[in-house]
């Protein structure tokens, strides 16, 4: 149902020209599209019904993100809903959820999550306030966010997440564009003062929740990558049916037919890896990490294989911005790098399966006691 609705809506409203228009605009997305997403209920998809959401789970997010990947959706869904909203839902007090999730779901508030430290980010207590200092790298959609969630070391040594207005004094954004058209920023924080209730939750260590939300984001963006991969395979097959050389369509050449089968099989493996990650998000941490990092590494590898071969099979036109193909290739390139590269996740996965018990464990899980 969700898939059909999303596919129909995006096929109708979100073609390559719409994508290019958004990417080339000053803000890098289409506000009217964002409002439409709110009307479709997508901005509330993963949140509990009590919080005004649709009560969807990882599977629903995966379905929507795959559709987004296919359609090259560039709106800040991952940063705002999956990461930002996800953190609020995981950590926030009822009041914070009320304050942040309601406008987020209605499309009036956008979030970003500043996590990766360039220099250590700390929160010093002063009176009832906190002073945040440090610097952050690669903050997805920060230039379009109204509030930025900032992770920082609390005086206790535990990690916390703070809700910081994007225009707070002492917070400086260095915005830039990513290869696939997203807006990102590096962020400097110099004694940014926020009130005590800007800390999400009640002061416990947020490390596990942060990792959980990031794993959800990796699973979500993996679904996006599967959608983009599938689109590249499909467009390549269609192209070879119509492109005639040496008196026959390219699809009749066995060397190309076999190459496209290998691309299609790579897509199918990527989809399976992604499904494994999606279904493991609520499992034990080791199982979740294994599935998520395994998927990131496997899909990254397969996506590169598909993208390169799609371009090669198209010939010269595949190397240009004339076709959507290039946009998919760049989207997949960004996927490979974001939230830890293929190499980093392969190392993380490898460290886990160094334990023979995990290497030997099949994918079906025992119920957690």
């Amino acid at each position: 149902m969700l898939r059909e609705t999303a596919e129909r809506f995006l096929a109708d409203k979100y073609d390559y020209r719409a994508f290019r228009k958004s990417v080339d605009s000053d803000i890098g997305y289409a506000p009217d599209m964002w409002s439409a997403f709110a009307e479709m209920g997508w901005l509330g998809l993963p949140f509990a019904e009590d919080d005004g959401g649709m009560g969807g789970g990882a599977v629903e997010i995966a379905i929507l993100m795959e559709c987004f990947g296919k359609a090259l959706v560039i709106e800040p869904y991952l940063a705002s809903v999956v990461l930002g909203g996800g953190l609020v839902a995981a950590l926030g007090t009822p009041e914070q959820k009320q304050e942040l999730l309601a406008p987020l779901i209605e499309g009036r508030l956008k979030l970003a999550f500043a996590h990766e430290d360039r220099t250590p980010t700390t929160a010093a207590a002063r009176g009832g306030d906190y002073l945040l200092s440090g610097s952050k790298a690669t903050v997805l959609s920060a230039p379009v966010a109204d509030r930025i969630l900032v992770s920082a070391a609390l005086p206790s040594g535990a990690n916390g997440v703070f809700v910081v207005p994007a225009d707070a004094a002492g917070l400086v954004l260095k915005p830039y564009r990513s290869v696939d058209g997203n807006r990102l920023a590096d962020i400097e924080l110099a004694d940014v003062t926020v009130p005590g209730d800007a800390l999400l939750g009640s002061g416990g260590d947020a490390t596990a929740s942060i990792q959980g939300v990031i794993d959800r984001a990796i699973a979500a963006i993996s679904s996006d990558a599967v959608g983009a991969t599938a689109a590249m395979v499909k467009q390549t097959v269609e192209y070879t049916r119509t492109r005639v050389q040496f008196g026959q369509p390219l699809s009749k050449f066995q060397v190309l037919a076999h190459r496209m089968v290998h691309m299609r099989v790579a897509e199918e493996e990527a989809r399976a890896s992604c499904l494994l990650a999606t279904l493991s998000l609520d499992g034990k941490p080791a199982q979740r990490t294994r599935a998520v990092s395994g998927a990131k590494a496997k899909i990254g590898r397969n996506a590169r294989f598909v993208a390169q071969n799609a371009i090669q099979t198209h010939g010269a036109i595949g190397t240009t911005e004339e076709l959507p193909l290039g946009a998919y290739a760049k989207r997949l390139m960004a996927y490979e790098i974001m939230f830890g590269s293929t190499r980093e996740h392969l190392r993380r996965y490898g460290a886990l399966i160094a334990d023979p018990a995990l290497a030997g464990a099949g994918l079906l899980l025992e119920p957690s006691v």
């Binding site: 299609r264 392969l346 996965y349």
Partner: protein
């Protein structure tokens, strides 16, 4: 879809584990661990098969009225995985997984009565008579001739790559009953007894030193027509049905997982700090997880003899590659030990060394033998051609 096992599944798994504890004694486990070919020696496998018979599990995937278990796809998966983990022999593939489903679908009542009991009991060993010297990938060009003579056929010709042909008492064979029309339309599917006068078996030794394959020669061999499955000249449909079982019908995840686990342990023991080996091991792990997930996704199609369809070509293509990749990394991980080669077979009789040294000596033969995985049962190129049609419509 949910990856979490239900309490009933856990109960079933524990029952399988308890069964395997007794059914796979240490010497059997060792014999299987030292098997470097594709299947266990029939005499090793038979002991396991007999235990399965006693438990009522010997033809688990068949319909219940023919001795099957009625397991859910998840239960079948659990069973295969636990067997692999316990190091149980790979038993009676040609009977249970290949000709059995064919007889169930295309056989007459009489044929079912004649052939099924021996498959269920494990007393019959079946050989596959498909390939010929001139008909490998182009299987339908086969020439072994069956000429009608009253109630019999007179068979002349030659089969090749006959797995355990030297230890089989029965064979299912594709024979040419007509040279008219399309080559596919002149083929019949024939069951025969290997002790029939005029049959000669000659061994073919693989690069890995194992004798699994054979040539089988037919010199005026008289075979009753009652052994024909399906109509005369309609054997190609039957043959293709069987091939889909051969390619994808068996759940492979458990076996490949067990192979991978041994590799992971060997890497830990031999080269735990080699970044190249560790990188490749992790990449293989992610390949394996993806394939296992595909296996789980198609489980329901395999239930009770249902034809797995074109996805079986994808499974065959990728599982065969993965087995090769694991065997390749296993050889690379043992360094100069890969030079050592013990030619005598079976290894469980010729070796008397500590377990890890014995294990090391299996890697080179396995690496060499496993080159055949991407060739037998339809080469990777053939599977890719099938997938071009089935998945891409080309």
């Amino acid at each position: 879809m949910d990856l979490t096992l239900s309490p009933d599944d856990i109960k079933f798994r524990d029952e399988v584990r308890a069964f395997l504890k007794d059914a796979v004694p240490p010497d059997m486990r060792r014999a299987q661990a030292l098997t470097t070919g594709f299947a266990s020696e029939p005499e090793v496998a038979l002991g396991f098969h007999k235990a399965l018979v006693k438990k009522g599990w010997s033809v688990s995937s068949w319909p219940k009225e023919y001795g099957g278990t009625g397991w859910t796809p998840v239960q079948a998966y659990i069973f295969e995985t636990e067997c692999a983990r316990a190091g149980a022999p790979v038993y009676n593939g040609a009977g249970q997984r290949m000709v059995g489903p064919v007889i169930l679908k295309y056989g007459t009542e009489e044929q079912k009565k004649k052939y099924l009991p021996g498959i269920i009991s494990g007393d019959d060993h079946w050989a596959q008579g498909y390939s010929e010297p001139g008909s490998g990938s182009d299987l339908a060009s086969l020439k072994t001739r069956a000429v009608s003579d009253g109630d019999d056929y007179i068979v002349n010709g030659q089969k090749i790559w006959t797995t355990f042909g030297h230890k089989s008492n029965r064979m299912f064979a594709l024979v040419r009953t007509s040279t008219e029309g399309k080559k596919q339309d002149g083929i019949s599917f024939l069951l025969l007894e290997m002790n029939t006068p005029g049959i000669t078996v000659r061994p073919i030794h693989g690069n890995g030193g194992d004798h699994e394959f054979n040539e089988v020669f037919f010199d005026n061999v008289r075979v009753p027509k009652s052994g024909r499955i399906g109509e005369e000249n309609k054997g190609w449909e039957v043959a293709k049905y069987l091939l889909e079982f051969e390619r994808g019908g068996a759940l492979q995840a458990g076996r490949v997982r067990a192979q991978f686990t041994k590799l992971a342990k060997a890497v830990q023991a031999r080269c735990p700090d080699d970044p190249d080996i560790l990188h490749r091991l992790a990449a293989l792990g992610t390949d394996l997880d993806a394939m296992e997930m595909i296996d789980i996704s198609v489980l329901s199609a395999l239930q009770s003899g249902a034809n797995p369809g074109p996805v079986s070509s994808l499974l065959k293509l990728r599982w065969s590659q993965l087995r090769q990749d694991i065997s390749e990394l296993a050889v690379d991980a043992i360094g100069a030990d890969a030079l050592k080669f013990v030619p005598e077979r079976p290894l469980f009789e010729s070796l008397q060394l500590p377990e890890d040294e014995e294990e090391t000596l299996t890697q080179t033969p396995r690496y060499l033998n496993y080159r055949a995985y991407t060739i037998l049962g339809g080469t990777s190129e053939i599977q890719t051609g099938i997938l071009a049609k089935a998945m891409l419509g080309l």
